[in-house]
């Protein structure tokens, strides 16, 4: 298979497979969660589940001072690489073209050097996060193979994308093909791993808030 054939394959059939698994996987996971249902709460409602739930979705984004003091590195690094990922994925012009192709609409892109800088910061932060995970004895003990796999699947598209943009090493079609392939691996693993938190965090936060809201206490 020549490199252009490889590129055509990752842009065609491979993308179709990855996208099918990604979309189907997420829908199945959500349906499983929703259809399992919750036990009817027989207690009288003293407040609104919805208000409490919505409040928590937003409020949990800001760590309370004690948690922040205790886990400063985790929180700061977490914010940095998530923000970096958000900007790299959603504000790089070629990526927006992909979303426009899927959703039918696009949005303005950020200047390429800005996206490039965020990608570098994200890569460095993700490496720091891994070092921290390996050095913190408790965190290391709690880490499973899946945690390392998810880390790898997240950093790979960033690294391959950076190399593909700067055209280092291999020929351009191979670099681009490897980058797209790394994203496809991420898409395939997404619904069946901890990466699913990108969607389920909304449900989880809402549920936490809704419990308090129902009881009429502060969420």
């Amino acid at each position: 298979m020549s490199e252009i054939e490889f590129l055509n394959w990752v842009r065609g059939p491979a993308f179709e497979i990855a996208m099918t698994i990604f979309i189907a996987g997420i829908i199945i996971r959500f349906l499983e969660i929703f259809l399992l249902g919750r036990k009817t709460n027989l207690a009288e409602a003293k407040g609104s589940e919805m208000t409490g739930g919505l409040h928590t979705i937003v409020s949990r984004s800001i760590p309370d001072s004690n948690t922040f003091k205790r886990s400063t590195f985790k929180i700061v690094s977490g914010y940095i690489f998530h923000l970096g990922l958000l900007i790299t994925i959603f504000f790089f012009a070629p990526h927006i073209l992909l979303f426009k192709d899927i959703f039918g609409f696009g949005w303005p892109s950020l200047p390429t050097p800005v996206v490039d800088a965020f990608a570098v910061v994200s890569i460095i932060t993700l490496i720091a996060v891994l070092i921290h995970r390996l050095q913190d004895r408790v965190l290391k003990f709690l880490s499973s193979t899946e945690d390392y796999l998810v880390w790898l699947l997240t950093i790979l598209p960033l690294i391959t994308g950076y190399i593909a943009f700067h055209r280092i090493g291999m020929t351009a079609p191979s670099l681009l093909a490897i980058h797209i392939l790394s994203v496809e691996l991420l898409l395939i693993a997404f619904p069946f791993s901890k990466l699913m938190h990108a969607f389920t965090l909304v449900l989880a936060r809402w549920y936490n808030g809704a419990i308090s809201g129902y009881r009429g206490v502060q969420s």
């Binding site: 055509n8 065609g12 059939p13 996208m19 698994i21 070629p94 073209l97 390429t112 351009a172």
Partner: protein, 391 residues
């Protein structure tokens, strides 16, 4: 065009002088060729000397499943440039389109050239070779495959001109109805075929050798840049060898860098300034054509440096994205106006099918989980103090 039939024994220098090319212009050409092929300036006198004394190499040009665009590109220069004269000064013994002879006489010319220069002639091929049905493309009743294998057996080297000969090109594009393949693929598939076995009775001194070890130079492009051909010929005449090639058999001097790397619009790509349509402000300002489907980032060719039409411009300079015509499978890359970051398939349709399938599977799984839950609750037996005390 010069007359191919006369002056076979003249040296290149004599041919050029008879065409009124001054020595100064000739040396300028040598200097330009040396610089284009990334050779040291010390090589210029050597190139000049070699070209001046070179006997005209015999060249057999075979055209198979092609559109004659390659020949048009190489011969239709607006003025008689030295490049075209160098090209003219080879002893082009056989070329369907250009030769005066036809029918039996034409085939005789090919066989005569092969007999006279066995093992020394250059074989230029344009067009892909069909393998599905030998009747799809024949010349003088001989299939393309037979003619190619027979002629290749006595060639010193093979030059695949144009994307069809180099990579299969348009005839090879999906669904490839004629089973067309590139010269390289044909040699890989049929290289061990005994040439005697492919109707080569008329070749007297046929050694019956295989063609699999012949050096192949690929000069892709739809059409390829004329100067690449003269560059390769100059290299062959000067050193008697073929130039340094990349992994796809392309001369590195011309195909070493991508269009994107040498594009004058590259700074706009780096800044993220793109033309969104062919007539917007960005297009007028000459911004990057990536969003309009430019394949420059994945295409290796010399268009951005050597340019076309006597150095006038190249497609991107004229406001059109690069099609990637010199890369393998450029016809199956999902559309010329689809950006490289967009999948070649229809994602929304895929998404709808995936979602519909998943919804059904999800509901089924949900129902299973629910019944599992209620069964578990039904079968649940309370733990007694006795259970806990059991050891």
């Amino acid at each position: 065009m010069t007359d191919f039939s006369n002056g076979k024994d003249k040296s290149l220098a004599e041919v050029l002088r008879s065409q009124g090319i001054s020595r100064r212009s000739f040396l300028k050409f040598c200097a330009a060729t040396a610089s284009m092929m990334a050779m040291s300036p010390a090589m210029i006198p050597k190139i000049a000397q070699a070209l001046e004394s070179a006997r005209r190499p015999s060249v057999i040009w075979l055209s198979f499943q092609e559109c004659t665009g390659c020949t048009e590109s190489l011969t239709r220069a607006h003025t008689a440039t030295i490049e075209s004269l160098i090209f003219d000064s080879i002893s082009l013994d056989y070329h369907h389109t250009l030769q005066a002879a036809s029918g039996e006489a034409a085939e005789e010319a090919r066989e005569e050239a092969m007999n006279e220069n066995w093992g020394k002639y250059l074989l230029v091929v344009d067009g892909s070779i069909p393998t599905k049905d030998m009747g799809y493309s024949t010349i003088a009743g001989m299939s393309n495959l037979d003619m190619f294998l027979q002629t290749a057996a006595g060639a010193a080297a093979i030059i695949s001109v144009g994307t069809c000969a180099a990579f299969g090109g348009i005839p090879h594009a999906h669904p490839n109805p004629t089973g067309a393949y590139s010269v390289y693929d044909i040699i890989k598939m049929y290289g061990n075929t005994d040439v005697d076995g492919v109707s080569s009775a008329s070749i007297d001194n046929n050694s019956g050798g295989s063609v699999k070890d012949k050096p192949i130079i690929t000069v892709p492009g739809c059409p390829p840049i004329p100067v690449v051909i003269t560059g390769v010929l100059t290299h062959y005449l000067t050193f008697g060898t073929i130039p340094e090639l990349d992994h796809l058999g392309r001369p590195k001097a011309f195909y070493g860098q991508s269009i994107h790397d040498r594009c004058y619009r590259r700074p706009f790509y780096d800044k993220g300034l793109f033309a969104e349509t062919f007539d917007d402000e960005g297009a007028k300002k000459g911004w990057c054509l990536y969003k309009l489907g430019c394949k420059g980032p994945t295409t290796y060719n010399a268009c951005a440096t050597t340019k076309w039409n006597n150095g006038t411009s190249f497609p991107i300079e004229s406001g059109h994205p690069c099609l990637g015509c010199s890369e393998p499978h450029f016809w199956d890359g999902g559309g010329f106006y689809k950006a490289l970051s967009i999948p070649t398939i229809d994602i929304p349709t895929t998404a709808v099918y995936a979602a519909a399938g998943a919804a059904a599977a999800g509901v089924a799984l949900g129902a299973m989980n629910k019944s599992k839950k209620s069964n578990a609750a039904k079968e649940h037996t309370k733990t007694t103090i006795d259970d806990l005390e059991k050891e």
